[in-house]
């Protein structure tokens, strides 16, 4: 029989406000196995933990139940407390009477009654707990960073600086990501390329970093410390080791009509191309969708002009297999499609553009060499209307955009407006906003300067319709403060499109078994306390794949993720999860059902000698669980017809005891 101690936490008034904690500790006092029951204001505090430690010693407790917040919050805390007092940490069970009781129920009687039942279920479970000892597994000291934007670059550099090898997988031909496409950055207005490209060069030169550009993650197996990853290196038809990046091929290629994705299709590139001058690796890539040679077998100009002999039309996709100890997702974002917002006429007029396109238009390396002109006729625009929140803050029921605030648009729009007025004072600039959100260091000051110093017209209201008429854009909008409907004749309309996670993130999350929210942003292990870890051990999050962020935030998070990775790789061994499956070999039928459902291949078969009642021995094959590989899902326990397979920590008897306690 266990000797169980029950500790009911008030959590200040969080629990005690809706649950009579004294009544709970009194009621649980009489449960089978309970020898001690108490309550305290903050069980997780030092004083609270001391109460637990003292009780363990004083009452010779063999198991404890803490009625408190979610185990996702403090289970680890109380396990450590128990361990410090000499109790096996897996003899601790948490009754979640905060998130799943006091916070969601209305009054004291119902809250108290439910808390008692939850407590009873936890006591019933602990009565059947057994001490568990986690296994150990080695750590592969190499990290994988998926995505080569500023987030991936920063994470990789920090990990490499700490002395661990890192691989970056980037699906585009170059690293750099969205930041490489930007012109200036808010609120300091320093040039994006000037601060990004040195970092890209650092990456290229760092001996600990390998870049797999034009590559994608194909398959992920294994678990924390021991991931097995297959990377598909797509054929770029250029030998990376030989290509010098001289760029002659990209000038001679006769296929000139390929929309240039780096400039968002606002100009053309060749079929063989280097995305931009500072690309890393600076290697040419052939676009197989457009290359005449690859499509028809006739051309070969690039091969002829390449003095290095780097062109290889027969190149095939290559699969690289590598082991990693940690994986960082840094897959970034994209502006959403404007197809569902054609009241702004994005698909009807070339002069309605997104902010990222505006960014390219003002960039010295962009399609207009930095001159702000209308894409339709190359003329200078005299009236520009910026529309904020296009697709952001949409209700789910409207089924068009995103429910969240994209966070960066207010600031970059202020930047665009300010820079326009600075460079072209003859231009009228209107910004239509719902709210201007500027919570950041020097952000509001920046926005105010746009209004006060640069004379940008900020109008509270929304644009309802943009009508292209002749070479003008008729903008119909509301001015809520003046209570007027406005009609502005504009030359250029710039839409602050909502941002969304890159489309590659969802399949990647599935491969990583990392969870995502309904918007396809990766979810954190804890929204406040573990913001750079995914709930899946060994998988970390960097940058906008976790939520909208500006550059400084992205870089901070990237470094934070790197710190977590370094902490993991610095260990030689990892303690595993002791809640793994175990087979009772006497009962095993060898039917192989468990083996068939195991997602990890953790089940093998061994020959076992059994002593029979007549003292003879018989060799029988039985299932055996590899504890280092088993992740403890429990699929096998249900597949097993004889009940030979059970799960430690979530044993059949334990769960049934909980069911019984709840239904009692």
């Amino acid at each position: 029989m266990q000797r169980i101690g029950v500790f009911v936490c008030w959590c200040g008034s969080n629990i005690a406000g809706t649950v009579d904690v004294q009544a709970v500790s009194d009621a649980l006092q009489n449960e089978p196995g309970v020898v001690f029951s108490t309550n305290y204001q903050y069980m997780c505090s030092q004083a609270g933990q001391d109460i637990i430690k003292n009780a363990i010693a004083e009452h010779k407790l063999t198991g404890i139940v803490v009625c408190s917040c979610s185990p996702r919050m403090h289970e680890a805390t109380f396990r450590k407390t128990a361990a410090a007092a000499g109790l096996n940490p897996y003899m601790v069970e948490i009754a979640n009477i905060r998130e799943q009781c006091s916070w969601v129920h209305k009054d004291m009687p119902t809250g108290t009654e439910k808390a008692i039942i939850l407590g009873k279920a936890a006591v019933a479970k602990v009565n059947l707990n057994a001490p568990l000892k986690p296994g150990e597994s080695p750590v592969t000291k190499r990290a994988l960073v998926i995505g080569g934007g500023i987030a991936g670059i920063q994470t990789a550099l920090d990990i490499a600086e700490a002395g661990f090898p890192v691989d970056i997988v980037e699906k585009k031909p170059t690293i750099g990501g969205k930041m490489a496409q930007l012109d200036k950055t808010f609120p300091t207005l320093d040039c994006a390329a000037c601060i990004l490209t040195p970092k890209m060069v650092d990456v290229a030169q760092n001996e600990n970093i390998r870049i797999f550009s034009y590559s994608e993650v194909e398959e992920v197996g294994g678990f924390v410390g021991n991931f097995d990853v297959k990377i598909r290196k797509k054929a770029r038809f250029v030998n990376e080791d030989i290509c010098t990046g001289c760029g002659i091929c990209t000038e001679k290629c006769p296929q000139k009509k390929v929309p240039n994705e780096f400039n968002l299709g606002m100009d053309n590139r060749r079929a063989i191309y280097i995305p931009f001058a500072q690309a890393v690796p600076k290697v040419a890539t052939i676009d197989a969708d457009y290359c005449t040679m690859l499509k028809t077998g006739k051309c070969g100009v690039c091969s002829k002009v390449c003095t290095a002999g780097a062109i290889d039309y027969t190149q095939k996709d290559e699969i690289i297999e590598e082991k990693y100890g940690a994986i960082v997702a840094a897959t970034g974002f994209n502006p959403i499609s404007m197809d569902k917002f054609d009241e702004y006429a994005y698909n009807q007029s070339k002069d309605v553009i997104t902010s990222l396109e505006f960014e390219r238009l003002t960039n010295a390396a962009g399609p207009s060499a930095g001159k702000l002109v209308r894409p339709s006729d190359g003329k200078h625009p005299h009236t520009i209307v910026f529309v904020q929140c296009v697709g952001s803050r949409c209700a789910a029921c409207a089924e068009k955009g995103k429910e969240y605030c994209s966070k960066i648009c207010c600031m970059y729009t202020a930047k665009h407006a300010m820079l326009t007025r600075d460079k072209y004072p003859d231009t009228d600039v209107y910004v239509f906003y719902i709210d201007v959100r500027t919570p950041g260091k020097a952000f509001d000051e920046f926005y105010r300067r746009a209004v006060e110093e640069y004379g940008v017209h900020y109008i509270k209201g929304m644009v309802g319709k943009v009508s292209p008429e002749g070479d003008k854009l008729m903008v119909q909008a509301s001015d809520l403060l003046a209570n007027k409907q406005l009609h502005i004749e504009a030359d250029l309309v710039v839409l602050a499109a909502a941002i969304e996670p890159d489309k590659s993130a969802r399949p990647l999350a599935t491969q990583l078994t990392a969870s995502m929210d309904t918007n396809d942003f990766f979810t954190e292990a804890h929204p406040k306390l573990r913001p750079v870890e995914s709930p899946t051990a060994g998988v970390f999050l960097s940058g906008t794949c976790q939520g909208p962020k500006d550059i400084p935030e992205t870089v901070s998070q990237a470094s934070a993720a790197a710190a977590k990775v370094i902490g993991l790789l610095a260990k030689d061994k990892l303690t595993g999860n002791p809640c793994v499956a175990a087979s009772d070999e006497l009962m095993c039928n060898v039917c192989s059902s468990c083996e068939r459902v195991c997602p990890y291949g953790a089940i093998t078969y061994v020959d076992k000698e059994f002593r029979m009642p007549d003292r003879t021995t018989r060799v029988r094959r039985v299932a055996s669980v590899n504890e280092a590989v088993c992740q403890g899902c429990g699929a096998c326990t249900v597949a097993c017809p004889s009940g030979a397979m059970d799960l430690k920590g979530f044993a059949t008897k334990q769960i049934i005891a909980e069911v019984d306690a709840i239904c009692r």
Partner: protein, 259 residues
């Protein structure tokens, strides 16, 4: 192909042309229009209030009739189509409305019928390519502006005919008939509708915007599917002719009587 046909009251009176050319074109395109027996006026507008039951019963009866015959319910008047489609949607999605409507009708109806505008029928069931094959007298050189108005497109979550802000269905039909579609920004803005009755000035302002925009974009003729749109645009002094799309269709198919 046999479909149920709901002409609507205006098509029996002021908009006989719309009805006549629809029927003639349908014949050429092997569509049999079976007019719903004893159909009643749809009411012209869909009252959005959820507790308006009686005004929607005539639509439900027509829908139920079509569902019984397992036929698509086709109308050609934008208003009828809008009312019937919205009513059908309410029958499918609003349980309370559905329950109350079913108290009034003999046989239970739960939104089973498929509702299509004649344009959708041409696009999705016949195919514009098939329509193009039957063209006898191409509209070549004719610059035609499609006027959608409100009722064909909105609310798009219910109507689901086309992109509500940048539709192409009529333009595609015009192209199929050999004409040159003119795209202009006001083709999906309101003509003023029934406001013409009590505030003609408001209707005039709306309609003028539409016709001016079409003319500015180089249109020679405007086509519409709605008798009220046609009335408003014409009444308020459109510089260019406004005709039903079916008239151009019949012309191209060679079944328009010269008079």
């Amino acid at each position: 192909m046999k479909v149920s046909y709901f002409p609507g009251c205006t098509l029996k009176t002021k908009a006989k042309q719309l009805d006549k050319y629809t029927r003639k074109s349908a014949e050429v395109l092997d569509i049999t229009l079976e007019e719903i027996e004893n159909w009643q006026c749809c009411g012209g507008v869909f009252t959005t209030a959820r507790d308006e039951i009686a005004t929607k019963l005539s639509s439900v009866r027509a829908l139920s009739e079509a569902a019984k015959k397992d036929q698509i319910l086709v109308s050609v008047c934008s208003a009828c189509h809008n009312v019937i489609k919205q009513t059908n949607n309410a029958m499918q999605t609003d349980d309370e409305f559905n329950f109350r409507v079913n108290q009034y009708i003999d046989e239970e109806y739960n939104g089973e019928a498929k509702v299509m505008h004649f344009l959708e029928l041409l696009r999705d069931e016949v195919g514009f390519d098939k329509v193009a094959e039957k063209v006898k007298k191409s509209l070549e050189g004719k610059k035609v502006a499609a006027y959608y108005g409100c009722l064909l497109l909105r609310p798009s979550s219910v109507m689901q005919m086309d992109d509500p802000e940048n539709p192409t269905i009529i333009e595609d039909l015009i192209s199929a008939l050999g004409g040159e579609p003119v795209v202009y920004p006001y083709r999906n803005e309101c003509c003023g509708g029934y406001i013409a009755l009590e505030n003609p000035e408001s209707a005039k302002a709306r309609s003028n915007k539409v016709t001016e925009s079409a003319v500015k974009s180089g249109a020679e003729i405007i086509v519409t599917a709605c008798p009220l749109c046609k009335y408003n645009l014409e009444k308020n002094g459109s510089e260019i002719p406004v005709v039903y799309f079916t008239e151009l269709l019949a012309e191209a198919l060679g079944v328009k009587e010269e008079n």
